[in-house]
């Protein structure tokens, strides 16, 4: 049997992003959990908004999330162009997925 040639990931020099990640001790469990939770909440919000414009309390009830959490994520989505205002309902603003309003 001939000698094995290793061309795996371990043999190549580390890229700067990997060096920085190692230097900072990798991604913390808290950050991993936070990013996962962000993904879960965004999916819920997008799903609810697919049914039409909603207010923050309506989204909170439908997605079973605290309204303050809904507002923060909704405003993040608004800032990055995924959500827009779609009128008012009493004391609340209605929000819609961009392009669906």
């Amino acid at each position: 049997m001939g000698e094995k040639t290793t061309t795996g990931k371990a043999d190549r020099p580390k890229r700067p992003i990997e060096i920085l990640r190692d230097r900072l001790g990798g991604v913390s469990k808290e950050l991993q959990a936070s990013v996962k939770e962000q993904g879960r909440i965004r999916k819920l919000l997008r799903g609810a908004l697919a049914g039409g414009p909603r207010t923050v309390p309506e989204l909170g009830a439908e997605c079973e999330l605290p309204t303050t959490t809904v507002l923060w994520h909704l405003m993040a989505m608004r800032r990055y162009g995924q959500v827009v205002e779609a009128g008012e309902a009493g004391d609340y603003v209605r929000y819609a997925l961009k392009g669906s309003e």
Binding site: R15, P16, L20, L31, V56, P57, V70, L71, M75, A76
Partner: protein, 440 residues
């Protein structure tokens, strides 16, 4: 970005309105200035404010020209994302040690296109919006930031590499490290500005736990057109607030929290915000509870009268507690001072605390200047040389020396710049030819 040179005429610590003005006043006289700012953009607190009192001019419209002028001035070098670690006297001047924090972005190559920010999958509470809005782990500090360059928050980076892949100029530099640089300067101006008194110091007002009790800087951002919500909403549920209260002296004139002094600007910023709320929300009730209103500046008393004429209720009353009730509404328990001290409980759906000003920076361990008993920089010749500290050659301006409003801070910046220029001439550190010729 040019490297920090070995020698400047003056070092200005802090790139807010005071620091920029001091740097410009020196730069215009021909002195070479290094302006060091700890945040990723210059502009300080002022660029995040909505409007200024009593004129209701747009705050960033006043601040951003100063930012651009400082940034492009031939005699001013701006170093953001950096901290002054040490200032030691040496001969007629000082040796300053400055730490440049890693931005993980090549500032010369970044074109501020935001593609990295748009691609980044991690949302983080944005400091510029007092945590009410989001930014990404890699981000441009804000829309008016100077420089318009991205900065990577490595603590929130998941190292997915998306920013690197999408960057059109390949400016992401993951192997940047912090760098300490020494430079020699002939004079130093401290313009490190303010923080607000922490809410945790007022447990009777919720101690920072109540969702609908806001700090005044958060209200500035909420009122700003480029703020986190794009309109005035309350943080607990996005409701358009209809009954809003301001609680004055919530962190000033209060020995129990170590802030016995009047912060001088709270009455006016509260009146300004209250008036603007009346403009922004149709039919909103705004009530301001105060011990006494201090409207001492040019046009301030007239502004106070205008605020009341435009429907803001100003009640002489001392707020004892703020408690949360159903629907995250708030009940304010207030002693009505003009009604014989009758105690009343009044319901609001949003409360803003008029928190006071404390110094944002302390000299201890950095430069051998004394602080006064209130924590601000000591100014032993306050009557005749208000910018002089206890260390010759080190000057102070703006809120670093004590609470004050923007016009007073700008005046003081000019005074500090002239005092620094005088020292540079006397010591011969840098004799500006025109000035030297005129003197001869």
């Amino acid at each position: 970005m040019p490297e920090i040179r070995k020698r400047y005429d003056a070092l200005v610590i802090g790139g807010g309105i005071t620091g920029m003005q001091a740097a410009l006043d020196l730069g215009e006289q021909g002195y070479d200035v290094l302006l060091v700012e700890k945040y990723a953009s210059i502009g300080g607190i002022m660029v995040g404010l909505n409007k200024v009192f009593p004129t209701l001019d747009c705050s960033s419209c006043i601040c951003t020209p100063r930012m651009a002028e400082s940034s492009h001035h031939s005699h001013i070098q701006v170093q953001t994302w950096a901290e002054v670690l040490k200032v030691d006297p040496e001969g007629d001047g000082f040796v300053a040690t400055i730490e440049k924090k890693p931005r993980y972005v090549d500032e010369d190559m970044c074109i501020g296109c935001s593609k990295c920010e748009l691609e980044c999958p991690v949302d983080v509470p944005h400091e510029f919006d007092q945590g009410l809005g989001a930014r990404r782990a890699i981000y441009i500090p804000h829309g008016n930031a100077i420089p318009q360059k991205a900065v990577l928050d490595a603590e929130h980076c998941i190292f997915c590499g998306k920013c690197e892949k999408v960057c059109p100029t390949e400016c992401i530099v993951f192997d940047q490290v912090a760098e300490q640089v020494e430079t020699r300067v002939g004079a130093v101006i401290i313009a490190t500005g303010l923080d607000i008194t922490p809410m945790a110091r007022k447990p009777e007002y919720g101690g920072g736990r109540l969702l609908n009790v806001m700090n005044p800087l958060a209200m500035e951002r909420v009122q700003s057109s480029n703020g986190p919500y794009g309109r005035v909403l309350r943080p607990s549920d996005g409701k358009i607030p209809r009954k809003i209260a301001y609680v004055q002296c919530a962190g000033s004139r209060d020995r129990s929290i170590g802030v016995p002094y009047c912060s001088r600007v709270c009455c006016m910023y509260s009146l300004k915000q209250a008036l603007l709320l009346r403009h922004y929300i149709h039919g909103v009730e705004v009530t301001l509870y105060h011990m006494d209103i201090r409207a001492f500046g040019k046009g301030y008393e007239q502004f106070y009268q205008r605020t009341m004429k435009e429907g803001v209720r100003v009640i002489k009353g001392k707020v004892a507690t703020i408690k949360e009730v159903d629907n995250n509404d708030l009940v304010v328990r207030v002693e009505m001072l003009d009604e014989g001290g009758r105690v009343e409980e009044r319901r609001h759906d949003l409360v803003v605390l008029a928190q006071g000003l404390v110094p944002a920076w302390h000299a201890h361990g950095v430069v051998a200047c004394d602080e006064a008993s209130d924590g601000f920089m000591a100014t032993p010749e306050g009557k005749i040389n208000p910018s002089f500290t206890t260390l010759s050659g080190v000057f102070v301006a703006g809120v670093a020396a004590g609470p004050k409003d923007i016009p007073d801070a700008i005046v003081e910046a000019g005074e500090a710049a002239m005092a620094a220029a005088g020292r540079l001439q006397r010591t011969g550190w840098h004799k500006v030819p025109a000035v030297a010729a005129a003197a001869n």
